[in-house]
Amino acid sequence: MGFVGNAIYYSFHPLQLRSIIQWKVWHNPPHERNPANETQTQKDCFKFLDLTSRSFSAVIKELHSELLLPVCVFYLVLRGLDTIEDDTSIPLATKEPLLRGFKDILTKDGWNFTGNRKEEKDRELLVQFPCVITEFMNMKPAYQAIIKDITDKMGNGMADYCRKAEESDASVKTVEEYDLYCFYVAGLVGEGLTRLFVEAELANPALIQRPHLHKSMGLFLQKTNIIRDIREDFDDNRRFWPKEIWSKHVADFEDLFKPEHKEAALNCNSEMILNALEHAEECLFYLAGLREQSVFNFCAIPQAMAIATLELCFRNYDIFERNIKITKGDACDLMFASTQNLRVLCDRFRDLTRKIHKKNTPKDPNFLKISIVCGQIEKFIETIFPTQNAEEANRKVKGVLSEEQLQRQREDAENKSDIYFMMALMGCIVLFVAGTMMFFAWMMGARFDLAFQEVMSGNFRPPASSASAIRNEL
């Protein structure tokens, strides 16, 4: 869409435009990086962050200064790993040792990799990898250990996956395998980030004791992407939807894309979304454990985008035909909501959950299960922010008022007496002014007695003036 296209679109969608403007005008980053104090390698890292990430670079750059570089480097390390794994032109014999040994590369000064094919979009990152290594070595040892550990786990997970793909068939079969795949590509990131947040004392340490929470954070995002990108992945000959789910609806995976199986494809779509929504409750639980605003924003924005994407995709046949995305206006609106507080975010989650529930149809074999998972999300929000409480219910039965209500009652009474006083005062002023005016009129010869008589005899209007009487005669 060019400028004209945009202009036409937004003149018919003023709310979208409003959200964008609001975001641009009112969003204050909790922290801002200061490029003036940065070294050249730091600048290079941020340059690559911008180049490699569309969605994460903005939120990363608003992170608390303590975590700004560690998270940026963490992201680039994983991106480097991903760039090796994704490149199908690298033979397994080269790829596997690289992936498995990537954690040691992080401390090899000056290491770089030029073996990627030319089309690989993040090729340049690995060519200029020394800047990442330098910054990695400059970090606190505790952060280094965390990043190294996650790199180790993820590199090995990816290597296992590549080996499996080479030897047999890597398509995802069971739901368990699906969860495991998502865990390697996203759940581990959740673990690493959580450990960084806690290490920096910006999140509740209890989050580490509940690993299923940060696992859910990662899985929710990854599953959303897998659902949304079904068409794109299919065209690239990749299949992430588990056979255990799609085989309930169609005989062959290809059938999902054939118009004659539209109903089956939609039911499969909703079952995949049901599977993803099961993580939503734990994501909110996790977000409730974050203390610092920039960390909250960093985690909340992608989650809000994910549930909005699920809402958009739910029983939407478009996903089988093309890549769909939430509009820019909706994205800004969500970012605005995700950078306030948990309450605002929960309200948004509830609204989107209800929208999904409204599209749920009894034709779907999973109709009730979807309804239940939506209800669970609402119920969970209710446990964080209860609308009713037992004390109030007990007071209501006993007919007594709470301290708050008594206070309000007192205030109401006070307000009322204030209003009466003001009215009385106004009345006095009116009487005084009117009296003064009448007094002056009387002094100047006004005949109130005659006026009074006329009124008493029913003549409310002055008699027709002599001038008009003469005019009538003429």
Partner: protein
């Protein structure tokens, strides 16, 4: 599902009201599911339709060691092999003593009550309040020795004891007060609250030190259900497509529906804990800690899966092939309908009739009403075994197949 590994020893159990809906299921559980192993008492269930295929209940709920006796007003119907049946009236001391002399229960599970739909006030009071008191006193040994000692008493209360039938109840727990008198518009609920209070106050007060507790189920449904499922299906089968598409309110209101088997299971968990507590008290060991106590306590029991009100009705209708798609729904605002209901009530009231659409029905279908069951989860280690979606399909399957069989019989 840890439940299937467990074996609970409950001794001599007397199920009061054991031929009723819930009582029958409790008896079925205690006898380790003759309904699934004995074809002569198998429940009607559609065959050849995967929507009604489920794993067995016996493989998921605990197994029991128990001598089961059942007392009910009439025991000719709804019998299960393996239990001993007694006809008896809980409002009569004599009648109860006779049953107790024969059954010698160490555990009483009291499920008997007239139907909610039966608005007969004197009957409700007589059975729910006086009957419960009589039963308690007989069990507690106040009306003389019947040759045994009852240790534990589990009462089936109702989640409606804290509900005024008008207000929303959102994630409500057991700290909420009873609603009585002018604030309570449903007499049934008032009698259930009175009875529950009597039962809980009687905890450890009888000469024998019998311990008591109460279970408060919400929106109970399942096979043999004659209230919730029956009403919804009746409407679903008879109404026109146009009427089915009508929806009162926005359908954002969550409602608790609980599978009857889970309610039965909660009774058994409470019973097992009560028996253990009784033995602790008797042996002079200290009682349980306050936050772990089961005796003298009431427990909300639900499926812990509140569900949008109209989704349940539509799911039931879809199972009888009356599908209402979301884009076909006409959602009518509550304010408007409340007024129409009010007018209908007044006009028809003058003619001495009750309209199909009353203000109460409107409120009920627009109301949020779900409970918090953390207390039961913690103190009873309760968690719902059969999920709501399966419970609803079980309830509907029973009605569908039963109707088919009944029609077949008529045809002969």
């Amino acid at each position: 599902m840890a439940a299937n590994q467990r074996k609970l020893d409950l001794g001599n159990v007397l199920v009061v009201g054991g031929c009723g809906f819930l009582g029958w299921h409790i008896t079925d559980h205690l006898l380790n599911f003759p309904s699934e192993t004995d074809p002569s008492v198998a429940l009607p269930k559609p065959t050849g339709d995967t929507r009604f295929d489920f794993p067995t209940l016996g493989s998921r709920y605990p197994t029991y060691k128990a001598n089961v006796s059942v007392v009910d007003l009439r025991t000719a119907n709804n019998r299960l092999p393996g239990a001993t049946y007694y006809d008896g009236d809980i409002t009569s001391v004599e009648s109860m003593l006779e049953v107790f002399r024969a059954a010698k229960p160490n555990l009483v599970i009291h499920t008997a009550t007239p139907s909610v739909l039966d608005g007969n006030k004197p009957l409700l009071y007589k059975v729910n309040v006086e009957g419960t008191r009589t039963l308690l006193e007989v069990a507690g040994g106040e009306h003389g020795d019947w040759g045994g000692k009852c240790k534990a008493f589990v009462y089936t209360s109702s989640s409606s004891v804290v509900h005024d039938t008008q207000s929303d109840l959102i994630n409500v727990d057991e700290r909420w007060p009873y609603i009585r008198g002018k604030m309570q518009q449903e007499y049934y609920s008032e009698t259930k609250a009175d009875a529950e209070e009597i039962v809980l106050k009687y905890n450890r007060q009888s000469p024998t030190g019998m311990v008591t507790s109460a279970i408060r189920p919400a929106g109970i449904h399942g096979e043999k259900d004659t209230t919730v499922t029956h009403k919804i299906l009746e409407h679903g089968a008879a109404a026109s497509n146009f009427v089915l598409r009508m929806q009162l309110g926005e359908n954002d209101n969550l409602f608790d529906f609980t599978y009857v088997g889970n309610v039965a299971y909660a009774h058994m968990l409470a019973a097992a804990r009560l028996l253990a507590s009784y033995d602790r008290y008797e042996s002079g060991q200290g009682g349980p800690l306050d936050h772990e106590r089961v005796d003298g306590e009431a427990f909300n029991i639900t499926n812990d899966q509140p569900i949008y009100f109209w989704d349940v009705t539509r799911a039931m209708w879809a199972l009888i092939n009356r599908v209402v798609e979301p884009h076909e729904v006409y959602s009518l605002p509550e304010g408007l309908l409340g007024t129409i209901g009010g007018i209908a009530e007044t006009v028809l009231g003058l003619l001495g009739k009750t309209p199909r659409l009353t203000r109460r029905t409107v409120r009920y279908s627009c109301m949020t009403r779900y409970y918090n069951i953390e207390k039961a989860k913690f103190r009873l280690a309760y968690s719902p075994v059969v999920p709501v979606n399966e419970g609803i399909a079980r309830a509907v399957g029973y009605v569908v197949e039963k109707q088919r069989q009944d029609e077949g019989k008529k045809g002969l």
